[in-house]
């Protein structure tokens, strides 16, 4: 295993993040503040509580999840797409680095950036609502697992994309709707039975539910089911990446 290569890719990707630190952080923080103003103060004022939790606090895990999913996917996809675009991807193919090192470097950096931004959002939320975290270690565990899984998904997206349009379309057309329909701002139990059944087909529901459980001890689905859902996604993504590197699909073309 070429650990120095992992470290090199990781630090290279993180340096890009820190070069534009204010843009990287300002945008998600501003969005979060707007969500709190609109959903927390304006609309949330008319909703007393959801399953015993003040609405403003209830949406915090959902907002964090929304950011983690979007940031993980976009960071990882852009991270590997840019070398493809500039032609420097050949370096990863000719260096003594295997798929594990390349993936660990890019995905590790993408997940780290997403976690950093999620932490800033959590800190921001303390200014608006009182948030109590019931299971801090589980919260951290879900944060890491989810950001890694979706960074892997983003990495696949970056390998697949042939242009910037394709790079944008999946986060915009798939990830954001899944998060909004996955209970970021409501509990699945608030839906009519039919739509609750439909919502349970959404894999993001399991992530948000598990994450919300770590905050408030309440969940739409059992926490073990959430963990298994994230685990399955992680394994599928790893398998796909291994296949892409083994066959060279969209990488050696």
């Amino acid at each position: 295993m070429n650990f120095r290569a992992i470290r090199t890719i990781y630090l290279h990707e993180m340096s890009r993040f820190f070069r534009t630190i204010w843009q990287s952080l300002a945008s998600p923080v501003l969005s979060t503040v707007l969500y709190f103003v609109v959903f927390g103060a304006a609309i949330g004022g008319r909703i007393q509580s959801v399953e015993g939790v003040a609405y403003g606090a209830f949406i915090v895990p959902g907002l964090m999840m929304l950011t983690i999913l979007q940031q993980s996917v976009s960071n990882a996809s852009f991270g590997i797409f840019f070398p493809k675009f500039s032609g420097t991807v050949y370096e990863f193919l000719v260096a003594p680095t295997g798929w594990i090192e390349v993936t660990a470097g890019f995905v590790g950096a993408a997940a780290s950036k997403a976690i950093l931004i999620a932490a800033v959002i959590l800190l921001t939320s303390f200014f608006f609502v009182g948030v109590h975290i019931a299971h801090p270690l589980w919260m951290l565990g879900f944060l890491v697992l989810t950001s890694v899984s979706f960074s892997l998904l983003g990495f696949i997206l970056g390998l697949w994309a042939k242009n910037f349009e394709q790079l944008q379309i999946v986060p915009m057309m798939v990830i954001t709707p899944l998060v909004f329909l996955g209970g970021a701002f409501y509990s699945a139990s608030m839906l009519p039975p039919f739509w609750e059944g439909v919502a349970r087909l959404n894999p993001v529901l399991y992530l948000i539910s598990g994450f919300r459980w770590s905050f408030f001890d309440i969940a739409d689905v059992p926490v073990k089911v959430s963990l298994v859902a994230v685990g399955i996604m992680l394994l599928i993504c790893l398998g796909l990446i291994r296949w892409i590197f083994a066959t060279g699909w969209r990488l050696r073309e």
Binding site: N2, F3, R4, A5, R7, T8, I9, H12, F82, P83, S86, G87, T88, Y90, E91, F92, L93, V94, A95, P96, T97, G248, R252
Partner: protein
């Protein structure tokens, strides 16, 4: 000299059925400069790409420094540096960071003294903090060379190093390669500029349609295949070629002052003596004689024509 790269019956067939490489066997010796010559699509880049790990072969083996590129790929790749044909650099990256990054990818610990030495040797030290997008084409190519040498490889592949560059830049690249040869790095370069192979290579390999037609020391190759051109300046201009001289491949210049004659220097009879005696018989006085060695380009064309 011992072999640094051993290529044995290497084959590459694409799904489309195209035979990019057809049973190529070649030994590359440590410290030499080998030029692989061939027209576009001959298989030069495919051969390099397989050795470097970018493309997988469909048959045969390659060993670099004794390490098989398939089973012992990490050790093999550590010995190789690649300068690709296209300029591929991250535009917003600083020159020095580009070199450090590649060094890290190869698993080498930071060595600022070596990076400085490398950048100085390629006249890039003053530009170390410049973003690569700010550099000229020649500097970008030198950055690619610096990256390829960042982990001190034993073998350097230069894929069409002067494709599409102007004459001044081409000569600059030749100087860089000359200095690298002195440092003991084995260099394999592909080119379709025959002048380049003539200038730099110790040995020349000719490849066409995926087949390695031959590999020979440059001088031997030119000696074996080369032809010479005899140019005869006449004392008095001729209106037309006299009858006895016709049909022997002798040409008369437009102004009637020069005769031209191509001959094979390896032939037992070159035909020069007969030509001169025929001129004397016809009473044609010769003012001066000039011979010109044919270029590698003509040698190459003759090989490729034979293949057709």
């Amino acid at each position: 000299m011992p072999s640094i790269i051993e290529i044995d019956h290497l084959t590459k067939r694409y799904d489309s059925g195209t035979h990019a490489l057809d049973d190529v066997t070649l030994d590359i010796r440590e410290g030499e400069i080998l030029a692989l010559l061939g027209p576009n699509g001959a298989g030069k880049t495919t051969l390099i790409s397989i050795i470097c790990g970018q493309v997988r072969s469909t048959g045969g083996t390659v060993r670099v420094g004794g390490h098989d590129i398939a089973s012992d790929w990490r050790a093999a790749r550590k010995l190789i540096g690649l300068v690709p044909q296209e300029i591929a650099l991250e535009p917003f990256e600083k020159v020095i960071d580009c070199v450090r990054f590649t060094r890290g990818l190869y698993g080498c610990p930071p060595d600022e003294a070596y990076v400085e030495e490398l950048l100085r040797s390629l006249a890039l030290w003053d530009k170390r903090d410049a973003r690569t997008r700010e550099l000229s084409g020649g500097m970008k190519r030198r950055v690619l060379i610096a990256k390829a040498l960042s982990h001190r490889p034993k073998v350097l592949f230069l894929d069409e190093p002067t494709a599409g560059v102007d004459v001044a830049l081409r000569r600059e690249m030749w100087e860089v390669v000359g200095r690298l040869r002195e440092s003991g790095v084995t260099i394999i370069l592909t080119t379709h500029y025959l002048e380049e192979a003539e200038q730099m290579a110790d040995r020349v390999g000719v490849i066409n349609r995926g087949k390695l037609l031959l590999v020979k020391p440059k001088a031997e190759l030119m000696g074996e295949f080369s032809r010479k051109h005899l140019r005869i300046e006449l004392s008095e201009p001729l209106a037309a070629l006299p009858g006895p001289l016709a049909g022997q491949g002798i040409t008369l210049s437009g102004d009637g002052r020069h005769l031209g004659f191509d001959y094979d220097i390896s032939a037992e009879r070159t035909g020069i003596a007969r030509l001169l005696s025929q001129l004397a018989e016809q009473g044609i006085a010769v003012r001066d004689l000039e011979t010109k060695q044919s270029s590698l380009e003509e040698v190459f064309m003759s090989l490729v024509e034979d293949e057709r």
